[in-house]
């Protein structure tokens, strides 16, 4: 029997009152893939992430993380999910180590084990020596890397990141994406990251193009480009979104 995909979304719709944010969205993310959720601002990416992470529940459609239904088995789904939100979510008054320890506790991981894991992950993220530093003293790129380290602390199988590189300089962006790809290459993690920055996509990535709450294309980046008859992802994306649905949707606040 084929293994369940890392993330499976079936016929998902969501509205804020009369405002439709997601309209019959279906796609899946294969295990071990590095998948970009491509969409302009307001496309529905943040709403999708909010539903996948169960910040609020999907009323129409189904979301499964590693085969676990997010609505029916939220504990099983969320323990396999690492999340980096678009907005900064570090407690600025706590140190890096304290932020990580707090996150570990929320996953039922004790302080000693959390400390050992944190040291290993932070070293891998080139943040060793920063454990005792207050989060507010870190640069934007460092904060983002700490958030990724925190999301990896409970050893998730799927890591979802909502626009993790927004507001960072080119060097910091590259470092974060390189690290994410290295994690995927090691074979134990699947990454789904939302972005509107088309230059972040590499040929080996999978992409899901979302526009005005609807999925317009999904698959390998090369295949999506080829299907549009375009030379690169930027022009393929432009072609897709130009021909996409015209109905008004509105995304959740970041």
């Amino acid at each position: 029997m084929a293994r369940e995909p890392a993330l499976s979304i079936e016929k998902l719709s969501h509205a804020y009152g009369p405002r439709l944010a997601l309209d019959d969205v279906s796609f899946s993310v294969a295990r071990g893939s590095c998948t970009a959720l491509l969409g302009l601002n307001g496309a529905g990416k943040t709403t999708l992430f909010s539903l996948v992470t169960r910040l609020f529940a999907a009323r129409k459609g189904r979301i499964r993380v590693l085969g676990f239904d997010v609505n029916r088995q939220p504990g099983e789904a969320l323990r396999r999910l690492g999340v980096v939100f678009q907005a900064r979510t570090l407690d600025l008054d706590l140190t890096v180590a304290q932020n990580l320890r707090y996150h570990a506790a929320l996953h039922g991981i004790g302080a000693a084990e959390a400390g050992a894991r944190a040291t290993a992950i932070l070293t891998g993220m080139e943040l060793d020596g920063r454990q005792r530093e207050k989060a507010r003293n870190l640069s934007g790129g460092q904060m983002r890397r700490v958030e990724i380290a925190r999301a990896l602390l409970h050893q998730p199988e799927l890591l979802v990141l909502d626009e993790p590189t927004v507001g960072l300089d080119v060097k910091a962006r590259e470092a974060i994406l390189r690290h994410l790809r290295e994690l995927v290459a090691r074979g134990s993690l699947t990454v789904l990251w939302a972005t509107h920055l088309l230059d972040e996509i590499e040929a080996t990535d999978d992409v899901v193009v979302i526009h005005r709450g609807r999925v317009l294309a999904c698959g390998g980046a090369q295949a999506v480009i080829a299907a549009q008859g375009m030379p690169d992802i930027a022009r393929a994306f432009a072609a897709l979104t130009a021909a996409g649905p015209a109905s008004e949707t509105e995304d959740a606040p970041p």
Partner: protein
């Protein structure tokens, strides 16, 4: 097989499912630890939590001592000074402010995004919220004992055993006021809206209660106000603490505080439930 049963049968079981008691305890202690750290970082909050009731005790109570005589009423078995009378009310006031402060923190966390880390925990959201409530209550109890220590130097000396017997009452009152704050926090979208709610909740609850004056005196001057005081859950928190401080149980207050805690907490849990609550409908979180 029904569709639901089929879905459940389809679900993979690669990791052990559920959480152990130890994991729940780790989570609870982590939330309490973080709340404690936050409290330590906000020294101004501790100072103001201590100074506020002391101002009432040292200035207001001293000034009104001769004006507001208190007759012998349970749980007191003799005439007492006004300072003694208002001490339980001031203890409850500390918890009221702390409950609202905790909810203010929740609104702040929601605006800043920190709340999301709490809400995506795999442990049941109801447990996470109760942990948060327990953490806030623990902080409020510490504040109350700090106040009692200072008050002791001012001559407020309840029975020694009372310092122990009041603890369960403080926990219960703290849970009630904290869950009220949590319920309010779920209804407030923006931080700036909270100040108005504080004024509409804290001051009416405090003044329309038995914290500052015994209900029989309120009854003499304003029967309508007396009814309002009797409908105010804060009155029962004050009386629960008052009796417990003198090693007694006021059963009516105990039942009302228990009932209100359950009601407020249920409301808060529903409001923060991702499937039923207000958060999803508004797109916040």
């Amino acid at each position: 097989m029904t569709a639901t049963a089929q879905q459940e049968a389809d679900a993979p079981q690669t990791r052990s499912s559920g959480f152990t008691l130890r994991q729940y305890m780790v989570c609870l202690s982590g939330v309490v630890w973080r709340e404690g750290l936050r409290f330590l970082h906000q020294r101004g909050r501790f100072v103001s939590a201590l100074v506020r009731p002391l101002v009432w005790l040292l200035i207001f109570a001293a000034g009104f001592r001769s004006v507001l005589g208190v007759s012998i009423i349970p749980p007191y078995d003799t005439y007492i000074l006004y300072e003694d009378y208002i001490t339980p009310g001031l203890m409850a006031m500390i918890q009221l402010f702390n409950g609202m402060q905790s909810s203010l923190s929740m609104v702040y966390d929601r605006e800043m995004g920190n709340m999301r880390i709490l809400l995506v925990s795999p442990l049941p959201r109801s447990f996470i919220l109760v942990s948060k409530l327990a953490a806030g209550t623990a902080v409020s109890v510490v504040q109350v004992y700090a106040y009692l220590l200072v008050a002791w130097f001012w001559g407020i000396e309840p029975p020694r055993l009372g310092y122990l017997t009041v603890l369960p009452a403080l926990v219960l009152a703290g849970m009630m006021l904290g869950s009220l704050g949590m319920l309010l926090s779920s209804m407030i979208r923006q931080l700036e809206n909270f100040a108005g709610v504080m004024n509409f909740v804290i001051f009416p609850m405090f003044f329309a209660s038995s914290a500052l004056y015994p209900l029989w005196r309120v009854q003499e001057t304003s029967p309508v106000l007396a009814v309002i005081c009797k409908l105010n859950p804060f009155t029962y928190a004050v009386e629960l603490i008052r009796f417990a401080l003198y090693c007694q149980i006021d059963w009516t207050s105990l039942l009302v505080v228990l009932g209100c805690t359950v009601a407020f907490l249920a409301g808060a849990l529903i409001a923060y439930d991702p499937a039923k609550g207000l958060i999803g409908r508004r797109g916040g979180g």
